[in-house]
């Protein structure tokens, strides 16, 4: 995962509430077995018409925002499906930071796993940043995770809250799985050996119908 330390970029504003993951990446583009290449389908429903032509009014199609690295929306960004294809599509487009008054839980989580910084700010501050964003390339924002600050084009600084652990993971670009195995393997083993765990049955039970792996199974 790529580190996130400091980003200076044009911001694109999408002044809508409940920007859901079906809007961010519609399901018909989830048929991939890779993480990359989803950027062209980002916001496909709003970005293209039925014939696949670009909708010139959609913010990411406007010349100033084609390289936006920051996206600002209203409340409940990323609600809906757990699809990590949503942050993958954002990342593939080039967006590394998303700002909103509130986020849906799973999407918020998924951002951190992909080096995208999600920032919660009060609605008034989001609206102020949207105003900055409306000036396109003339108004770049700088997001500094180390200092937990956003620098506006007029020099004003907004600070934001961030969980210290998540901040560290982003700053260092740490691999979660390796960290867990390195730090907690012994604790996991001890947990698995607890007598109170004995009731939990196995999903691999001989004679039960599942034991066909890759076979035909019972014909429907």
């Amino acid at each position: 995962m790529e580190k996130f330390t400091r980003l200076t970029s044009v911001a694109a504003a999408l002044p809508q509430e409940n920007v859901d993951t079906d809007q961010i990446i519609p399901a018909r583009f989830l048929k991939t077995i890779r993480r990359t290449g989803l950027g062209e389908h980002l916001f496909a429903g709003q970005r293209y018409d039925a014939d696949g032509r670009e909708n010139p009014d959609f913010v990411l199609n406007k010349p100033a925002y084609r390289k936006a690295g920051i996206l600002i929306t209203l409340d409940n960004l990323g609600c809906g499906s757990s699809r990590e294809h949503a942050p993958w599509a954002l990342l593939d487009f080039g967006i590394r930071c998303v700002i909103a008054p509130s986020f849906a839980d799973i999407f918020y989580n998924n951002c951190f796993k992909n080096g995208i910084l999600p920032i919660r700010l009060p609605r008034e501050q989001c609206l102020a940043l949207m105003e900055d964003a409306s000036h396109g390339e003339n108004a770049r924002l700088t997001v500094d995770l180390e200092k937990q600050e956003i620098h506006r084009p007029d020099g004003e600084v907004m600070s934001f809250e961030m969980d210290p652990f998540r901040r560290q993971v982003l700053l260092e670009g740490l691999d979660d799985v390796a960290q867990t195995l390195k730090n907690h393997e012994q604790a996991i083993r001890e947990f698995e050996a607890r007598p109170s765990r004995a009731w939990v049955p196995s999903t691999k039970q001989p004679g039960r119908p599942q034991s066909v792996i890759g076979g035909k199974g019972e014909q429907a």
Binding site: P15, Q16, N18, D20, D22, Q23, P26, A27, L30, K31, T32, I33, R34, R35, G45, A50, D75, N76, C79, S81, S82, R83, E84, P87, S102, A104, D105, I106, N109, N110, K113, N114, D176, V177, T180, L181, H184, A187, I188, F191, E192, S196, W199, V200, P201, S202, T203, K204, Q205, P209, Q210, S211, V212, I213, G214, K216, G217, E218, Q219, A220
Partner: protein, 480 residues
């Protein structure tokens, strides 16, 4: 770990029983009892696992099935779409390589992962259950902690059988009293979402309680918990009781015999203690809940079927008024119009919300002896091959087919428009699924969420309508 004398909620107890390690920063490493996999959100996780040379830590706590992307038409043919086929083949290659139990596409056990898990007894009370799908909350109906995760977390669970989690807040939604005839679990849940909004449960786990919930069967409880995510909650739960134990008893993967009785003894300790603290509490009067339908593009846009669509000018907040305006334009509705009488093009009965045998029975009760209105395409997509088979044993398939419904194979189908079952632009559906987002069922498709009873009624009249009118005439004829 909390002091044992402090009264705890159902969620607190399951959480406490699964903490491997509480970390200094306030997160906990949580052990996962069941990991369910499907073809869309797992390939990238397996790829990373392979690249790092790691095994699946607990294949015996894992179960896989393809559902999102599978065709629901003729299963004797190969999967036509090359990308879909590759995704399914990739899942099959991965389960083989990593030794994960799998229900093949052509087996009768195949179906929607959230139908299959409970049906097989893979999902049990007291467990932590995860899957790379937000509707994993369904399994909370058993009194388990079940929630959706992203693909990076799928990889983390495959490799470590744990997740780093922050404890959620406790919210209780009590529904007290009796629901009226023709009102279903779906209507209860739509009403709850209409009341608290799609972000109402954010940061919380919801426990559904109250006399109306206790009376629901497991299918109803699953419908309720399924849509917890549409209320923004991390998970939804119902305390396990005799209804739960009776459902679980004898399921293929449930504990058997003496082991079952011991498990029940443990499960009985899980109910929320008297006096346990809830950060939020919402109470609904069951008697006030009507058959409901959504009018807009967010699950919180709920109306009783007798209601009228909102007018933008009734909202003081300009952003809100603008959203209403935009939504009405997308949905092709007039401000202030009655929702009943809106013509539909497609009726979809299926999805992890409403595709169980009980849902099919409810729809068939409306459809018996009736026909789908001219020009309406109606389809039933059972939640699993076993549901489909059971329905055929009961003769429900005949009722559906005679009425003019397509009788399909199991899968997610038109709920999310990933496979070929989609709305075309401007088409309007009455759908028993869970999301009415823009484009969810196909680009520029218009979705009205409702119960199987209401969807069946819409199929018959060709419009959104009050199913109670049809049910009453069915009962009147029955009495005559």
């Amino acid at each position: 770990m909390q002091n044992p004398v402090t009264p705890r909620t159902l969620y607190d107890k399951i959480w406490d029983d699964h903490v491997v390690k509480a970390l200094e920063d306030g997160t906990s490493l949580l052990y996962i009892d069941r990991h369910l996999l499907h073809e869309v959100t797992s390939p990238q996780a397996f790829e990373s696992l392979r690249a790092a040379g790691r095994p699946v830590r607990r294949p015996d706590a894992t179960m896989a099935v393809a559902d999102h992307n599978v065709p629901t038409s003729d299963r004797s043919q190969p999967v036509e779409d090359p990308q879909s086929r590759l995704q399914i083949e990739t899942l099959e290659a991965n389960v083989k390589e990593f030794g994960v139990p799998y229900f093949p596409l052509r087996s009768r056990q195949q179906g929607i992962v959230h139908v299959v898990g409970p049906e097989q007894g893979v999902s049990l009370p007291g467990m932590t259950i995860v899957c790379g799908d937000s509707h994993t909350s369904t399994h909370g109906a058993f009194g388990s902690l079940a929630f959706g995760i992203g693909t990076s977390e799928v990889e983390h669970v495959l490799a470590t059988q744990t997740l780093l989690q922050k404890r959620s807040k406790n919210m209780r939604v009590r529904v007290e009293g009796e629901i009226a005839p023709g009102v279903t679990a779906k209507d209860i849940m739509l009403s709850i979402i209409g009341r608290i909004g799609t972000a109402g449960g954010t940061g919380h786990v919801i426990e559904f309680a109250g006399s109306a919930i206790r009376r629901l069967d497991m299918a109803g409880r699953m419908t309720l918990c399924n849509m917890s995510i549409e209320a923004g909650a991390r998970a939804g739960m119902v305390a396990p009781d005799e209804t739960t134990f009776e459902y679980v008893r004898g399921r293929p993967f449930a504990p058997q015999g003496e082991a079952f009785e011991q498990a029940v003894a443990y499960w009985k300790t899980l109910a929320t203690d008297e006096g346990a603290h809830f950060d939020e509490e919402v109470v609904l009067d069951a008697a006030e809940i009507s058959p409901s339908v959504t009018w807009g593009t967010s699950p919180e846009d709920v109306l009783p079927i007798t209601g009228t669509v909102p007018r933008p000018e009734d909202f003081a907040d300009p952003a809100r008024a603008e959203r209403i305006r935009r939504t009405l334009a997308y949905m092709g509705l007039e401000a202030g119009q009655k929702i009943a009488g809106t013509p539909v093009d497609v009726v979809f009965i299926g999805s992890c919300t409403n595709s169980r045998i009980e849902d099919l029975r409810a729809a068939a009760a409306v459809l018996k002896g009736r026909k789908v209105a001219d020009g309406v395409r109606a389809m039933v997509v059972p939640g699993s091959g076993l549901v489909r088979h059971a329905a055929e044993q009961e003769g429900l398939d005949r009722i559906f087919r005679d009425a003019g419904f397509e009788w399909r194979e199991a899968g997610c189908s038109m709920c999310l428009g990933m496979n070929p079952d989609r709305l075309s632009a401007g088409q309007r559906s009455a759908s028993t699924s869970n999301r009415n987002f823009e484009g969810r069922q196909g680009p520029d498709g218009r979705t009205h969420l409702c119960s199987p009873t209401m969807a069946a009624a819409a199929a018959v009249t060709g419009t959104l309508c009050d199913a109670r009118d049809l049910l009453e005439s069915t009962m009147a004829e029955g009495a005559a």
